[in-house]
């Protein structure tokens, strides 16, 4: 079960990183700035990848 959960979600840092990316996209969308999310979300993803790579 542990292996399955790890395959699906990764570790806690992985979940936190993706949650932050989705939060950025959701916040921009909900405040009427969805067009900015097109730029901000990929940038946030790349930042998340960099953060995870360093840990």
């Amino acid at each position: 079960m542990k292996a399955l959960l790890k395959t699906l979600f990764g570790d806690a840092r992985n979940v936190a990183a993706v949650a932050a990316v989705v939060a950025v996209a959701a916040a921009l969308t909900k405040t009427g700035h969805a067009a900015w999310a097109v730029v901000a979300m990929p940038a946030a993803c790349l930042a998340a990848v960099g953060w995870l790579a360093r840990s």
Binding site: L8, F9, V22, A25, A37
Partner: protein, 238 residues
């Protein structure tokens, strides 16, 4: 036929099947090829049942927007960690995956194990490595409904890896695993980003599906730009 998904599926599956093959090869030296391949087949059968059951359960009664959001997020969870590990390995922060070392570790783990314990190692190894293939096949298939072609992509990779491995009877050490994981990770993050935002905001991507190519180029270039940055930060900290 879901052609955009074929390549990432084939490459993802290929990398995982290489690792599964290493384990099966190590076990075959204890219990013979027939038994080791039988264990691998049992693992694959379990994965097939899991795929069918998951697809049916997830498809029933959910709206497409919710499915698209869930799939997008799962692809992000999968893709960012593949990209991060590949970048960390390329930057020298983690060792490259070594199939020879994996082979020796599996041989050591089997040790003096009895026939059934060794069989279980091959079964479990195939199942565990195949779980990531399962996740990607289900994710792409729920979106495109192209279950058969996506399954074919995964099986095609299995055929290539196992026939190559059986021909040389040695760990497949020359597969550029890290490069493949980086490229596939970038593809999967691209799909995850695209679908998650589309689920949240509707048809917001400026070039529609063609935006996927732009995203892929961004993550490939950006990911490579991260390598010296990640390497440099750790050197500074040391």
């Amino acid at each position: 036929m879901d052609w955009p998904a074929f390549l990432p599926l084939f490459l993802t599956a290929g990398v995982e099947w290489v690792e599964a093959f290493t384990i099966v090869l190590a076990v075959s030296l204890t219990i013979g090829w027939a038994a080791a391949l039988g264990a691998a087949a049992a693992g694959l059968g379990t994965l097939a049942v899991l795929t069918v059951a998951t697809g049916g359960a997830l498809s029933a009664g959910l709206n497409m927007q919710a499915i698209q959001f869930v799939i997008g997020v799962f692809l992000l969870l999968f893709g960012v960690r593949w990209m991060a590990k590949a970048i960390a390995r390329q930057a020298g922060l983690k060792p490259l995956h070594d199939e020879d070392a994996e082979f020796r570790e599996t041989r050591a783990r089997i040790g003096r194990a009895d026939w059934f314990a060794a069989w279980l190692v091959a079964y479990k190894g195939t199942l565990m490595e195949g779980l990531e293939v399962w996740l990607i096949v289900v994710a792409f298939s729920l979106h495109s409904r192209a279950w058969v072609s996506n399954g074919i992509a995964a099986l095609a990779a299995l055929l290539v890896v196992f026939t190559t491995g059986l021909a040389i009877r040695a760990p497949l050490r020359r597969v550029p695993e890290n490069a493949i994981k980086f490229i596939v990770g970038a593809m999967i993050v691209s799909f995850g980003t695209f679908w998650t935002l589309e689920a949240l905001a509707g048809a917001v991507w400026p070039l529609g599906d063609w935006s996927l190519l732009g995203l892929e180029a961004f993550f490939l270039a950006g990911g490579q730009a991260l390598v010296p940055l990640v390497r440099g930060r750790r050197v500074a900290a040391a």
